[in-house]
Structure formats: C-alpha cells, structure tokens
C-alpha cells in the first residue's frame, strides 16, 4: 500500500518544490520524509551540501533516512537515471511498496548544461514509472533562472506546497511531446571560432584518431578514452542512420574538448535517445546511451539543416 499524497497512484508520482526559504523547504520536506519513515518506506535525501545540512539538522536524531551525495548522483543525467533505477529495483526486490526521494540539482547545471537536465526531468516521468516512487525535486527560486523554472513546471506534473497541497502545475507536458520539441542548447563560445579539426564523412577510426591527436595530453587519459568512445559512436550513428554528408568539427580550449557531429537527417526518432538504452540496440540507441555517460555534456540540436550532436569532455560549465 502506498501512503501519503501518492496513495492509490500507480507508478511514478513526480513533484517539484519551488521554495524561497529554508522554512519553505522544510515545511514540505520534513512531513514528506517523516511520513516515509513512519510508514517504513525507503526514504532518501539527494540534496546538495547546504540543503542536506538544513534537512539533516531538522530531522529527529536516528530517523531512518538515507543521504546520498548530491554531487555524485547528479553529474550526468543518464548515469543518474541508471543509478536511481538500480536503487529502486533493489528496494522493490526487497519488498518496498513505496520509495520516497527528495532531490536537488546543483545550481551549476542551470547554466550551459541545463538542456540535458531539462531532458532528464522530463524523461524520468517515463523512466521511473516502473516503480512505486514518490519524489520531490527541490528548486530554490532565489537562484533558479526563469527559463529553468518554466521547464520545471512543464516537466513536473505537480507542485508540493508548504500548506500540504499537491497541485497540478497545469502546464505539464507528456515526455514524448516535450522531448520531441526543438530545444536549442546555447552554443559553446568555442563554436564561434574556427574548429581545429573539420572532417567530412570520416570513418569512425579517422574520427577517433582526430580526437587523440587534438587531445595531446589535455584531458586525463580516462577522459580522452571516454571522448574517443563517444565520438566513435556518434560518428557511426550518423554514418549509419543519418543523411550524408556527415560533418565532424572539433574545438579545443585549455579545459575542454568540444566535438560536434552533424548530418542532414532528422536525428534519432526515440525521444529518450541517449537517456535510456534502446531496448533492442537498433538505431544506435546503445551507442548514444554510452556516449551520454562518457561525456560531461551532450546536446541534441535539430533545425532545417539537419541534426547536430555536440559532445563536451572536460569543463562543460562555461559562461554562455
């Protein structure tokens, strides 16, 4: 039996908290967590440093609440989905009838990398719907930009408020529709400069070699191997499933390598491409999913000219 606001709900009960003070946050989160503890449900906190401390101090001593390290969980969206799905699978296997999680993305992701986290917030409505999960995603209105708040209300079916209400956001958009929209990510400033590599219809081997040559020790060895893997996969996908010509461009800065691969096709049809492994591995779904976990940022961009996937290894949090 599920308890609380999600009682009777099947699948994922996904809410946002849009708070503007610690009191506001605690007024929503404390009853949520304590209700979970009281019902014997796995109860998890994935808040960042300060938020976690505020909640930890407010909880009664010995409350059976698990604290995750927010920074680790929310480094890459696809990895977060994978980690959470593993955790949820474990709880359900152990007999849990509901799992409660409150999480908060670190504010750094509201900048250059917000697009893939917006995709995350939308996709999890589908990705976690296999589980009796009730989660709340906390956003501090004081530091969250308006365009991010717009995406938050479109990707969360409900808002949890301090008065105990759980009201529909009213503008929630089904993930398949939301993810199919064209959502241009801001250009990396490097993209305004001439690329150091530009290849047309490269073989995957040629593309890999170009990344290794451009790296020249810039990234840590594991980082360059992961980028080589990701570039290889997206070039393979473009050659196999895209529309020629396939154009690969590469830029280097002291703290990152950026690779954009463009073809004239419409890009992957699967709205969850990259965020979830494609079931049967067709259409390069597994390669894209691996790429999303091998890079520090991946953007999808569609326009009249075709489809561009951009991969960043290194510091993706650049001013835009």
């Amino acid at each position: 039996m599920r308890t609380g606001a999600a009682a009777g709900h099947v699948g994922y009960f996904h809410e946002a908290i849009l708070y503007d003070s610690d009191d506001h946050l605690l007024a929503v989160v404390l009853p949520f967590l304590l209700g979970g503890v009281e019902a014997g449900e796995p109860t998890v906190v994935g808040l960042g440093g300060r938020g976690a401390e505020v909640v930890r101090r407010a909880l009664p001593t010995g409350a059976e609440v698990t604290f995750l390290s927010g920074a680790d969980v929310y480094s890459r969206p696809t990895a977060a989905i994978r980690a959470y799905r593993e955790m949820l699978t474990g709880h359900v296997a152990a007999g849990a009838t509901q799992i409660r999680i409150v999480g908060e993305l670190p504010p750094v992701v509201f900048g250059a990398t917000w697009d893939w986290w917006a995709r995350y917030e939308s996709a999890i409505n589908h990705a976690y719907d296999d589980f009796p999960l009730w989660s709340m995603c906390a956003y501090d209105r004081r530091v969250t930009p308006p365009h991010v708040l717009t995406d938050v209300t479109r990707t969360h079916p409900r808002i949890a408020r301090p008065d105990g209400s759980h009201e529909p956001t009213g503008v929630y958009t089904d993930p398949a529709s939301y993810l199919a929209e064209c959502r241009p990510a801001p250009l990396d400033p490097l993209q305004h400069t001439a690329p150091v590599v530009e290849l047309v219809d490269p073989t995957p081997a040629r593309a890999r070699e170009a990344v290794r040559a451009a790296d020249a020790g810039l990234l840590p060895p594991d980082g360059v191997d992961d980028l080589v893997m990701a570039v290889s996969e997206v070039v393979c996908n473009a050659l196999r499933h895209g529309t020629p010509p396939v154009r690969m461009r590469l830029w280097c800065a002291s703290d990152r390598i950026v690779v954009a691969v463009h073809d004239r096709g419409p890009g992957p049809k699967d709205p969850y491409a990259g965020l979830l492994p494609a079931g049967d591995g067709t259409e390069g779904g597994l390669g894209l999913w691996i790429s999303h976990q091998s890079c520090d940022h991946v953007t999808h961009h569609r326009d009249a000219d075709g489809f561009t996937i951009r991969l960043t290894a290194g510091n993706a949090h650049v001013p835009v």
Partner: protein
C-alpha cells in the same frame, strides 16, 4: 612492413599485400638475404616455375650456392600445399611442423617461408579454410623457429577478400583495423588494433575461424595491443565465450573497456587491467 600496422610483440608471421610484382620481388630478395644471414632454410613458394624464379634471383649474393646446398628451396604452390579444392588446415600445419623439424635436423637455425598464396584463396570456401590454417600455423610460428610471409595479389583478390586473411597475421601492410593472432601464456588469442562496427563482420568471422578454446572455464583475450574496442565487439566476445562454456577475460592496459562492461552490466565478461 614494420610500419603502423604491426603488433608491438609481433612474431615472424606477416601478410604482404601487393599490386606490383616488383614489391613481391623486393620482399623475396629481402627474405632470402635475411634467411641466409641467419643460417635458416628458406622456402620460396609461388605459382611460377621454380627455374623462372631462380633466374630472377640469380643476382642475389649467395643464392645459387644456397640453392645447390638446399639452404634455399623453391616450390610451386601446389607442391608445398595440399590443394584439393580447399586446403586442409590440420595437414597443412603438420607439413610445416615437419619442414621446420627437418630444417633444424639438417643444421639450419630455423625455417623461413615466403608463400605467394593467391591461387589458394580465390573462392569463399577456399578462403574460409585457408584463414583457419593461417591462424593455426600462426600458433606454431609464434612458439617455434619458423617465420612466414604470406603474399596476396590485390589485383586478383580485392581488398575485402584479402582483409579476411590479413587480419589473422600479427603484421600486415593491408588496410585492416584489427589483427587477431596467437597469444602467449594463458591467452587463447591476442587482439591488436581497433574493433568498431566497420569491422564487426570481419571480426566475427575471424573469431569463428580462429576458434580459440577455453582453459579451465576462462577464455583469455590478450588485448594489451588493442587500442579501441566498442560494446558490440565486447558483446561478441562474451557471446563466443558463453557458447563455449567459458567466461571471457579481456586483458588490457586501458580501463575504458572495464567502464563499458560495468555500464552494460556484463557480469560474465571480465576485464583485467594490467600495467
């Protein structure tokens, strides 16, 4: 052929692809010179009449003497290889085992073979059998005093057919991304180069033809010279090992395959990262 497409620890089994007979001749001259200098017996095997070959090599220092004393032997390809439509891998390897042994017994330091084998691999069935033979003889060569250069004429066979054979040599000038050859110690085979979707079918065929066998439930692939491997190739290795009742073990210098295995949750594929 000491260029980029050779394994760091290559033994003496090379695949020479040529368009110009002059390249084959140059390699033949080189092999004769190396073999005589090292005290080896040299076998030159090809489609041509031995006397015609001998006339071309007459100017090579020491060649005439060496041929007279049996240090250089010339064969037509159908004398050195049993050729009933397709080669029989087992008996062909046994023939070279015997030849190596006899060369040593006659006082040579080993056997050096240059074989122009184009005529033996013209059909898919011939190539399948010959590829199996190439890998079996590769194991013999890796661990015994025999070296071989297998030469194929690109004008006759084309790149795709040659790739099927070239990828089973530790060293080649052919345009192949990966090489699969005999391993050392507990490694059933060694992999070098790069494995990606463009050579997926070629790799699957090479693996089936090499037929590596597990030892004590483990099928060890020495991948320390493998620069890149994608998830498709890992799945293929796992599937092959599983079919042979074994766990696949990939021995590598690079942690990237281990991360891939972890991502994909491939519990029955082990990656051993060695320094």
């Amino acid at each position: 052929m000491t260029g980029g497409n050779a394994t760091g620890r290559a033994h003496g089994h090379a695949c020479l692809v040529y368009d110009d007979p002059a390249a084959l001749h140059a390699r033949t001259v080189e092999q004769v010179g190396l073999g005589l200098a090292a005290g080896e017996q040299v076998w030159l095997v090809g489609p041509e009449d031995p006397d015609a070959v001998a006339r071309r090599l007459a100017a090579v220092p020491g060649f005439a003497d060496a041929r007279r004393h049996g240090a250089v032997r010339l064969f037509r390809v159908d004398e050195a290889y049993r050729r009933d439509e397709v080669v029989d891998p087992g008996s062909q390897v046994r023939a070279y085992v015997r030849a190596t042994t006899e060369a040593l017994a006659a006082g040579h330091t080993g056997l050096r073979v240059l074989a122009e084998a184009t005529d033996l691999v013209r059909t898919p069935a011939q190539r399948d059998a010959f590829a199996r033979y190439e890998h079996r003889v590769d194991h013999w060569i890796r661990h015994h005093p025999m070296t071989a250069v297998c030469a194929y004429d690109r004008r006759v066979l084309g790149d795709a057919a040659i790739a099927e054979l070239a990828c089973l040599h530790p060293e080649t000038n052919a345009d192949v991304l990966f090489r699969l050859h005999a391993g050392d110690d507990d490694a059933a085979v060694a992999l070098a180069g790069e494995l990606d979707p463009t050579d997926e079918c070629l790799f699957a065929a090479a693996l089936e033809r090499a037929e590596p066998s597990p030892v004590a439930g483990r099928l060890v692939f020495d991948a320390t010279d493998l620069r890149f491997v994608d998830h498709r190739a890992l799945l293929l290795l796992r599937e092959y090992a599983h079919r042979h009742g074994a766990v696949a073990v990939l021995r590598t210098h690079r942690p990237a395959p281990a991360r891939l295995v972890e991502l994909l949750g491939l519990t029955d594929l082990r990656v051993e990262v060695v320094r």
